[in-house]
Structure formats: C-alpha cells, structure tokens
C-alpha cells in the first residue's frame, strides 16, 4: 500500500520525447499522435524576432495527473475506471464500454482510445508493467536524459518525492477544479 505521485522538475525538460517513446515501448501503446499516454507540451514563444521572450518558451511534460478526486472515475458508468490500492487511477478494459464520458470529463485531456483493447486508456504509472515486476521507477522517469521526474510514495515521509515536495515550491495543474492531482510541478 502506497500513495504514488510524481514530481516534475519541468524546467530541465528539453522536449526530447524520450519519455513518450519509453512509455510506448514499455506499455505497448499503439503508434499514432493521438495515442500518447504522456506528452510534452510546448508553449510557443512570445515576441517578434529577434526580441523574443525566452521566459515565455517552456516545455511542460504532461499526462494523467493521477487525481485523488478524479472526474473520469466519477463519471464512469461501469466503474471501469477505478483507484487501485496505491491510489493510482486505472482502467479495467473488460468493463470499459467506450462511452468516452471519461474523455469528456478529464480536464487534462489525458485519456485516449486504445484500438486493440477497445478501452479508453490512460497512464497508470507503469503499474501493470514495471511496478508489477518489482521496479521502483516508471519508464518515463528511468529514461529521462535530464532527470525531470521523481516518482515515489507520497505517504512515506522519507521518500525522495516527499522530501522534494517539502523543500521546493511546486504547483499542480488546474488546482481550482479541486481534482487534487498527484503530479507536482517544481518551480
């Protein structure tokens, strides 16, 4: 039993997309631009050449925010979307009826359709791949060249993620919606 979360030192991101490809290879995600569990958002630069505002240009790795209060879980009519014992929001493919309510409900645009399993799938922190095999990192964290991601147990005060969140300022996406994400962007 744990409560998994992830802290992102997103200012170190160089938009190399190692995480996206590691995720696809680890979890067997189909090809296609709309089939990503995780992605890197690009905030295009403001200004007129050559007076560009460097600060306005940023790369923001994003994905399912693993909400403690997940709208996608709330609207699911068949309980296909559920919280597992570690607080990870997951999907049971056998129960998914492709109604796509979850896609509408998710404020982070984090769900997509897997054409093989006919499931509205999402990031599950590699729960059924790496974690199930005894690994302690997700594929995206392990592979990252600039070490943007720190994954760990939020309930364990000695875990690195807990320490980092105590020591550094951070924010979550769309906090005002009350979704209580377990992804934290370090500033």
């Amino acid at each position: 039993m744990a409560r998994y979360g992830m802290a992102l030192d997103y200012k170190s991101c160089i938009n190399c997309k190692a995480c996206e490809s590691a995720c696809k290879e680890e979890n067997g995600i189909l090809l296609g631009a709309d089939k990503h569990r995780i992605w890197v958002g690009v905030n295009d630069i403001a200004g007129i050449f050559p007076d560009l505002s460097i600060g306005s240009s940023s790369f923001e790795p994003s994905q399912c925010q693993q909400c403690d209060n997940a709208p996608c879980q709330e609207v699911c009519p068949t309980s296909a979307t559920y919280y597992d014992d570690n607080g990870v929001v997951r999907v049971n493919p056998d129960q998914c009826i492709l109604c796509t309510y979850c896609m509408q409900a998710c404020p982070y645009d984090a769900r997509y359709i897997d054409d093989r399993t006919l499931t509205v799938d999402k990031c599950n922190f590699c729960s059924d791949t790496r974690l199930a095999n005894g690994e302690t990192t997700t594929a995206c964290q392990a592979t990252c060249p600039t070490k943007v991601r720190i994954f760990g147990d939020l309930d364990d005060p000695t875990s690195e993620i807990s320490q980092v969140l105590r020591d550094r300022e951070h924010y979550s996406l769309k906090e005002h919606l009350g979704t209580k994400p377990k992804l934290f962007y370090l500033t």
């Binding site: 200012k11 170190s12 160089i14 938009n15 190399c16 997309k17 190692a18 996206e20 490809s21 590691a22 696809k24 290879e25 680890e26 979890n27 067997g28 189909l30 090809l31 296609g32 631009a33 709309d34 990503h36 992605w39 958002g41 690009v42 295009d44 630069i45 200004g47 050449f49 050559p50 560009l52 460097i54 240009s57 940023s58 790369f59 994003s62 645009d109 997509y112 054409d115 093989r116 791949t129 790496r130 199930a132 095999n133 302690t136 990192t137 594929a139 964290q141 392990a142 592979t143 060249p145 600039t146 070490k147 991601r149 720190i150 994954f151 760990g152 690195e160 924010y171 996406l173 769309k174």
Partner: protein, 814 residues
C-alpha cells in the same frame, strides 16, 4: 507561470502518422480491415514472463553509444532501458535509444545478400547466398585491379561512424591496400577537432557538469543530443548553476534554456569571436598568469587582433550583434573564468572560414585559463585496452589519394566533396572504378546529391554494407546486409574523460535474418579475394616478385599478410576477450559481460545518490587536470577522429613545448594557411536582399538518414518542415503547412512551411535526414525534403571540409 497545453500538439497533431500495414496505400479499407492491418512494430508490452534476461548492450541509434539494458522475454526484446553503470550516458536513454527495437523489427530491413538485376538505381535486386555475393564481388574486383595493374586505389571506400568502422577500414586499407577512403569527418567535425588539437593540444571535453558560463554558438545540445554534455548542462540551466549564452540564427530548444540568446548573421561567427578577443585583450581581463605560463606567441596575436581593429563595432556590422552585447559577453566570460567555456561544437562544417573560427574560439576560451581545469575544457584519462594486431602487406603499385592538393591538409579520412568531385570532373590522376560503402548514405549525407549520383553511376562496381535499403543501397550492385547492433558483438571500446570506463556492445538476440556483422563480412571477402588478388600483385609487383624468388610464394603469402582473412578469423568475442584480459584480467571480462561496463574499483566507487542520480568516481578520483608538460595523447576522443593523424598534424605544425598556440607559422610557411585567425572578407558572402541563407541541423528524434524509416520516431516527428520567418512568409502568402519550393544554384526541393518568429528574415532552416527517394523505405520514402539536394558543394581550403551554410536560396509558394 502556469500554462495549459493540450495533448494535441503542433506537428504531431496536424500530421498524424497512420501506420497501416507497411505501406501508405490505405485507401478504401473498412474500419475493421484497418484494425487488422495495424502493424505493432514490436511495440510489445512488457510482461511478467519468468523467462526474463537483462542483457547489457551499447546503443547504436546515433553516435553516442549510450549503455542500455535490453529486457529479453522468451527471446524477444520488449524494452530497452538505460544502464546506470556507464558514466558517459548517465543513466539515460533518449527517444532514439528507446526506438532501437523498431530498428530490429523494421519490416523494410535488408534481410539477405542481393545482387542488382535491373539498371543501376532502378532498385531491382535478386536474393543470393553470401557465397554468390562474395564471388560476384571477387570477379569484378579481380578484373578492375588487373586492368589497373595492381593500383589498389582504383577501389574507393567510405564509412559512416560506428564501432565496427575500424574493422572495415583496417580490412580495406591495411589488408587490401586501398588508399582512397572518405568518411564522415569532412562532412562533420574535421575543422573543430583539428582546430582545437592544433591550438590547445586536443579537442577535449567541455566539463558542462561544472562550468559556470558557457557560450554555445550554433551547437544545439537540446536537440542534437551528445552524452554526457546534454544531460550535464540542462540540469544546470535556467538558474541552476550554469549561465548559458546561445548564439544562433534560430531560436532552438537550447536557446529556450539560455540566459541570453543572440541571433547572428550566418557565417560571421569568426568576427564575433575575434571581437570578444579584442575586448578581453584591450581591457586586460584575461587570465594573465595562465597566458604567461602557457601561451606561445600571445604578444604577436595581441598585436594582430588590435592592429586589425577587430573591435565590437566592427563585428556589429558583420554579425548584427550589438557592440555592447559583445563587450558584456566578453566581460562575463572572463569574470567566470576559468569555469567558462566557448563550446567547441560538433558538426562544424559550416563556413569557408570554419578552421580559423575554431582556432579563435580555442584561444579565446584558453585566455580565461579554463583548459585542463574542472569547469573548463578537460582532457581526462582513459583505461587502456590490449591490441589486436594484423599483418599488412605492402603494395608497390598502389597510388596515393586522388584529391590531394585540393585542400591544404587532406588526411586519411579525405575530403568527401573534393574526392567525389575529382572523380566526376575528370581531374583524377587515375580512374576510381569501384566504391565500397559501409554504414554511410552519401546520396543523402554529402552536399549535392546529384553529383553523388553521377559519381555512383560512373562506377564499375558499387558494394554497400548497411541495415536499411537507403538511397545509396538503391545505387548498389551488391548489397551485404549487416546485422543490427542488437544482433551482434562489436569491438570493445574504452571511453576517456574525467570518469573513464570501458564498455561492451554484446549480442542481445540472434540475427533475425540472413545478415552478418562486419567482421564476418570482411572474413568472407578475405577468404575469397586473397589468392586471386595475390596473383595480380605477383604479375605487376616487382618487389613481391623478388621476395618470392628469395623465399617461396606460399610463405610470402602467409607471412607478409596477403592472406586477407587473417586477423578476421577469430570471433569478435575472442578478440575482445584478449583485449580486455591482457590488461585487466578475467574478472574485468566477467564484469563486462554481465554488466556491460567496467572500470577499476567500479564496485567500490559506483553509488546510487538519489532515485535518478549516481556517482561513478569520488570527486578526488576524477581526472580533471591531467597535463604534466605537453599533452601528448588525448584520452577523450571518439571513433570520429583518426588519433594518429591528429598527432602527426600536431608534430608537424606545433612546436613540442607549446601548450596554447596562437600562431602556427609552420602551417603558414608550408601550406599557405593564415598563421593566426584572420577575418577574410573574400570568404564571406552576405545574403542578397530578398534571398536567404540555408542552414541545416539535427534533431533529438532523428539521427540523419539512418533512422528515417523508424516507425516510433516518425510517430514523434513525421516529416521535416522549413522554418521561415512568419512576417516574411506572410508577405509571400505562405501559411503553416503550405508547400514551398526552396531553390539553390544546384537544385530545388519542395517542403512544407513552418512560419515562425524563431528565425530571422534572411535565413531558412530545416533538419537533415528526411527526403529519401528509395522505394524500399516504405515509411521514409518521399517524406519531407533532402537538404543535400540544395546544399552547394563548397568546401573550406584547409581540410576540404564541407561548408554547409554557404548556400543562398530562394523561396516561393507552390
């Protein structure tokens, strides 16, 4: 600041790649049919199989050789993970490294040896056995070499970068005796490697883990990933320890991490560096003690810089960078010195003045004292390996390189452009009638594709060793398919640096098809060619005839190395075993096979510090400062450089006592090259109004044309787009995604437009590696545009290195 960014992103979102079957011909398929046709390209979910192995290997998706652990489940690779033990790759694997499985599973791979049946370039081949392919090559070679009276140099050969490049090269050069070799150096980093070696003693390694102030000009480490540079620097940018100044006409992902980004007129970097030097000299802000103790001819250089009035105001007119900015950068650089670096750069084949640019950078950087110092340019240590010796026969009738004299210092790696042009323009002293290409795709990688095609068309024999049916493979007579890196063991390699190590690429899975590693291809050729080629030498080579009179043919053949397969008969594993154990014993070998990496005391030194970071050596054991007296052997180098040749250059043009050479008088006297970096107006072409300079570059999800058919990488970036300033584009009515024509004096291409404010109004840019013409590359075929179809074949006068950013182009909507 919080931003909201949707998953439907630029480019990926607008041109989604649908991989249906292995072809693009998905027209009237029903949804159900489409579904069954989806090819998973080895995107296999990892499972809980009990039969799992973790096999260490080294990646070959680009040149960096990062350490990976292949997860093999029941004989199938389901994932490639970073191997944390390797200091160079720092526990990471990039997008390309992750996509290595696709290289293995690519349905378009070369699967068996082939011989051409149609016209050359038509792409029609028949499958043959290895023996038939070797036999075919032998017959052609025997005829050609006999007709050329044993001038072996009539056979040319070229190679791309790779761990087995040396195996190929030593067979072709040392055993068969071929002199006409061209590799990647002259289209990549020849000028910077040599410029730094001749100036500060070596190219070294920028210690980006400790530098406080870095000027990165043109280089783009966020997108053209180099390990460990990329990982070291971007953990420290944006206020985390390193001040980064980016000089580039493009606002790159590297610029996005900069403290200051300055755009520059293409081709004027030398003026910028000379002005920085001027400021530091006139303000006397440089490290006087370091200069006093280590520089030669500094006073002469000072006189030269000040006498020529390389002032910031002078540079502003050329570069477009404000004089005050130049002053500030020079001051800040020296204030942070010796932990300041003017980054050397990798693919530096830019301008006609590139060699002097690299010299000027090296001198300016050294004026801060940051050489052989933590936080500066370091040379590091390395761990020796045993040697694998081969006996090389001597061929009296073999003539020298054909393009000597076309540039001042053409070395053993040649000048690709000068060499090719010499073959086609009729100035070659003798005919070059055949070409062997290994892991290189000159049809796409050398400026002026039309001329490369013309050269290949002239050949009597073209043999290509590769893994994919590239455009160059389409021009071949014989195709030898190479096994993918995951299917073979390669020569063991030592990696120098502050934290040196040895790493091994060993076979992860058996070859999927009828392919071979290079050493076995050389062995097969050697067995076939030895006797017939020996007979030709016997016919024409008087020295050999005399030797045979003195001894007997059989023993001369054996003892003098005419048995071409000797040295290639052992397996790579046996050779590696000898090279490791002869220096480090059996225990080291065992560690390498189990863990992929070895260095003395690794078991004691290697520590996990955090969930992401590791320590390889304790701080006091790192080799930051290594020079005692002159730097004789640089330990940090890679397979891109011919280390012997660099030593010869240094011996010839530097005096033995000097450390930092401001003036190379020998070079001026003997070769007519400016002794000191000097701006030459006649070598600079300003961009005419209404036209553009074209620049090319690299990308984090692609390695040149080698990965152009990789399904997973295409998923991230389906094609290249041309960057054009958005206001310029608007005036030409060019919108995002519109097809435009880019035309230079040598050709034109069509490509989709990406109007952006990230580039100036007289430059256009697109990344290299797209635009393949080969029909056999079902995903890469005609996707995006080939830069070398428009880049003019200009080269600089010192090494004959390509000047890829000297091409003026016109742009119009089509």
């Amino acid at each position: 600041m919080k931003t909201e960014i949707s998953r439907r992103r630029f480019i990926q979102g607008t041109v989604a790649l649908t991989v249906v079957g292995a072809s693009a011909a998905a027209t009237a398929l029903s949804k159900a049919e489409e579904k069954t046709k989806i090819v998973d390209f080895g995107l296999t979910k990892t499972s809980f199989s009990t039969n799992v192995q973790e096999v260490p290997t080294l990646c070959e998706m680009c040149v960096n050789k990062c350490a990976a652990l292949a997860r093999v489940e029941d004989g199938v690779i389901t994932k490639l993970n970073p191997n944390p033990l390797f200091p160079k790759s720092r526990n990471m694997l990039c997008a390309r490294g992750n996509a290595g499985i696709q290289a293995l599973e690519d349905p378009d791979r070369l699967k068996f040896p082939m011989i051409r049946v149609g016209e050359r370039g038509e792409g029609k081949f028949m499958r043959v056995t290895w023996d038939e392919a070797f036999e075919y090559v032998k017959d052609k070679m025997v005829k050609i070499i006999d007709e050329e009276e044993d001038n072996r140099s009539t056979i040319g050969y070229c190679a791309g970068e790779g761990m087995a490049e040396h195996t190929f090269q030593s067979f072709m050069n040392k055993k068969i005796g071929l002199k006409n070799f061209v590799n990647h150096a002259s289209i990549c980093l020849a000028t910077t490697m040599s410029g730094y070696a001749l100036t500060i003693g070596g190219y070294g390694q920028a210690d980006l883990e400790n530098a406080e102030y870095v000027i990165m000009a043109g280089a783009n480490r966020a997108e053209a990933i180099i390990t460990p540079d990329t990982m070291d620097m971007f953990k420290r940018t944006k206020g985390s320890g390193m001040k980064l100044i980016v000089i580039d006409p493009r606002f790159t992902n590297t610029a996005a991490h900069a403290d200051k980004w300055l755009t520059i007129e293409v081709g004027t970097d030398l003026a910028f560096v000379l002005a920085l030097t001027y400021v530091s000299m006139t303000e006397e802000s440089y490290n006087k003690r370091y200069v006093e103790e280590n520089f030669s001819d500094f006073e002469a250089y000072k006189k030269h810089i000040i006498g020529n009035e390389y002032t910031p105001e002078w540079a502003e007119k050329l570069t477009g960078i404000k004089a005050d900015e130049i002053r500030k950068v020079a001051r800040d650089f020296m204030a942070h010195a010796p932990r300041s670096i003017y980054y050397q750069g990798r693919r530096t084949a830019w301008s006609l003045q590139d060699f002097q640019l690299r010299r000027a950078q090296a001198i300016f950087s050294a004026m801060g004292g940051g050489i052989d110092q933590k936080g500066g340019i370091i040379f590091g240590d390395n761990i020796p390996l045993g040697k694998h010796e081969i006996t090389a026969p001597l061929y009296t009738n073999t003539l020298g390189r054909i393009e000597r004299g076309k540039a001042a210092l053409i070395g053993n790696n040649g000048s690709w452009i000068a060499w090719r042009n010499t073959i086609i323009d009729g100035t070659s002293p003798y005919p070059v009638r055949a070409l062997f290409a290994y892991k290189q795709n000159p049809m796409l990688s050398v400026p002026n594709t039309a001329k490369t095609k013309q050269m290949l068309e002239k050949m009597d024999l073209v043999v290509v060793i590769d893994t994919m049916p590239s455009d160059t493979v389409m021009m071949a007579d014989v195709v030898f398919p190479e096994s993918i890196y995951l299917e073979r063991e390669d020569p063991i390699k030592t990696f120098g640096g502050a934290e040196p190590s040895i790493a091994l690429r060993k076979k992860v899975v058996d070859a999927k098809y009828d392919t071979k590693p290079v050493i076995e291809i050389m062995r097969g050729l050697g067995e076939k060619l030895s006797k017939p080629l020996f007979e030709i030498s016997r016919k024409y080579d008087e020295d050999l005839q005399e030797e045979i009179d003195d001894y007997d043919a059989e023993s001369v053949f054996k003892d003098n190395g005419y048995d071409l397969a000797d040295g290639f008969r052992h397996s790579q594993e046996t050779i590696n075993h000898h090279m490791v154990t002869s220096k480090h014993g059996e225990e080291a070998w065992k560690t390498l096979r189990e863990k992929g990496v070895y260095y003395p005391n690794m078991d004691k030194y290697f520590k996990k510090l955090t969930v992401n970071n590791y320590e390889y050596y304790p701080e006091h054991k790192k080799s930051y400062s290594v020079i005692e007296g002159d730097l004789v052997n640089e330990s940090y180098h890679d397979t891109c450089v011919d280390i012997n040749e660099i030593s010869v250059l240094k011996k010839t043009f530097r005096t033995e006592t000097e450390k930092i050479s401001c003036a190379l008088y020998n070079l001026e006297e003997q070769k007519g090259v400016d002794a000191m970096p000097k701006w030459r107006d006649e070598l600079y072409t300003p961009t005419p109004k209404g036209k553009f300079k074209f620049v090319t570059g690299r990308h984090g999800q692609f390695t040149q044309s080698g990965t152009s058919n990789n399904a997973l990488l295409l998923d991230l970036l389906p094609e290249n787009y041309v960057w054009i300033n958005s206001r310029v584009a608007a005036a030409k009515d060019i919108k995002f995604g519109d097809m435009v024509e880019i035309k230079s004096s040598i050709g034109s291409i069509q490509i989709k437009a990406y109007p952006t404010e990230k580039i100036g109004n007289n430059v256009v840019f697109f990344i290299h590696g797209f635009g393949a013409d080969s029909d056999e590359l079902s995903l890469a075929h005609h996707r995006g545009a080939n830069d070398n179809a428009i880049i003019e074949d200009k080269y600089e006068a010192i090494f004959g290195a390509a000047a890829m950013h000297e091409t003026i182009v016109e742009v119009r909507r089509v």
